[in-house]
Amino acid sequence: MREVAVVGFTQSPSLRREPDRNEIEILIPVIEALRKQTGLSSKDFDFVCSGSSDYLAGQSFAFVSGLDAVGAWPPVCESHVEMDGAWALYEAWVKIQMGYADTALVYGFGKPSMGDLPLTMALQLDPYVMMPLWPDAISIAGLQARHCLDAGLMKPEDMAAAAVRDRGHAKSNPYAQVKGDYTVAQILAEPFLVNPLRRSDCAPISDGASAIVLAAGDRARKLCDRPAWIRGIDHICEPMDFGVRDLGRSRSTEIAAEKAGAGRDKIDVAELSAPFTHQEILVERALGLSAKTKVNPSGGALAGNPLMAVGLSRIGECATRIWSGEADRAVAHATSGPCLQQNLVCVLEGN
């Protein structure tokens, strides 16, 4: 295996609505800041890979315009996934492992505020027996939440506590959208948005973008004093049918974590991309995190949720803590699909 590290990370602030900039205008400053941070120009990237969703923009092939922020002349080696940028990072990591690249630029971007996001998410469901009923994403997550509550796997207080923790941590994150001091009692006093979920159980809707630079071996050491080495990364998918899945645990996260070697050593920091409080608890359990791990120091997805970039940002938030020496070992998580259907786990180390 080649040594591959995260050596650069930039992001836009997560905003509920970015009415005056289009996706590319949100992305351009992020890529420009990344060039400045790493001292690399677009020509220095052997591979470019992005994650976005055309349905968020309501335009086919909307992702192609993302390249305008990168510069594609002379022509570049490029790929795209219709998934969170964390999966684009996985593809870039594979490309580097295969020896086709030594450096890669990875980015994710999305502007869900243009549409009705929970409803747009219905289009990711089975098109024969689920999508025609137009179940919105909050309702789908709510079915899982009630299952967890009914089965005694967690209590509403546990869910509220996840929101309280993340919003508190997000106070020190200038890019976060939902932050501040809250109490469990305050959150439990909120009316239901979709019973059993309250607004605070749901990640915000955020417009935003983020970008990462990967580099191999000595190239990484030159670019970064303390590169965040990717020591394990995997992603695992479950069937979509809710009927054949155990909605009370995240088996795919468990398997991805095991394959990535998350539990082989202490975990100083974990950044989770679960967009609902009950899902955050399920992911935390699946990763086997102990009280010694600082979970979501950035606030996680519940504090800022730029769809298609939020998972990539979790990897970036872990990397910045490795660079600074705040953490020696960190675990980042990204998710895709209804009810944590598909999960990616990335283990980063400073040594």
């Binding site: 836009s12 602030p13 009415p19 005056d20 900039r21 289009n22 205008e25 400053p29 309501g58 243009m114 009705d116 409803l119 219905a122 098109p127 024969y128 027996v129 689920m130 025609p132 009923l133 137009w134 179940p135 919105d136 909050i138 309702s139 789908i140 709510g142 079915l143 899982q144 009630r146 299952h147 009914d150 239901f192 979709v194 019973n195 059993p196 979920l197 069937p239 049918d241 809710f242 009927g243 054949v244 909605l247």
Partner: protein, 147 residues
């Protein structure tokens, strides 16, 4: 950070089209039965019955072919209450999305319960289907109501 933006022009954009999806053998049988107000599951190698019927076993990817009639009544295994339905959703008044396990099936599936009010909903409650006047062979030909 970025320089302040001036107000951008905005315009409404409506995206609308109709996919025509070919069904294949198993789903054709499933939807044809629905049009006849019957529910078809399919037997897996371990003997359990998957509903809705699918061409393959989601765990083992084995092909499946033994159709089994299930329902029409069943129980709610989990639910949410939609107080403010959206334009596209199946009912204009408040309703529940639920996972419903039909009698004779081993897997619950996503559907709609028209219960009238949230207080009528409970995990474990029994439901029965109410079909529209002229079923066309689609998953939205019916909704459930408390049995």
């Amino acid at each position: 950070m970025t320089k302040p933006a001036t107000a951008a022009l905005t315009a409404p954009h409506h995206l609308s089209y109709t996919y025509k999806r070919s069904l294949g053998k198993v789903l054709s049988a499933f939807f044809t039965a629905l049009r006849d107000r019957r529910f078809l599951g399919i037997r897996r190698a371990n003997g359990s019955v998957l509903f809705p019927a699918k061409e393959y076993d989601p765990d083992t990817s084995e092909s499946l072919s033994e159709l089994v009639e299930v329902g029409p009544t069943g129980i709610v295994t989990t639910w949410v209450w939609v107080a403010q339905p959206r334009r596209q959703q199946p009912l204009a008044h408040p309703f529940a999305y639920a996972l419903v396990k039909l009698d004779g099936a081993d897997t619950p599936f996503l559907h709609v319960v028209d219960a009238g009010s949230e207080s009528k909903m409970a995990t474990g409650m029994r439901v029965r289907p109410r079909f529209c006047d002229v079923p066309k062979g689609a998953i939205d030909d019916f909704v459930f109501e408390p049995a």
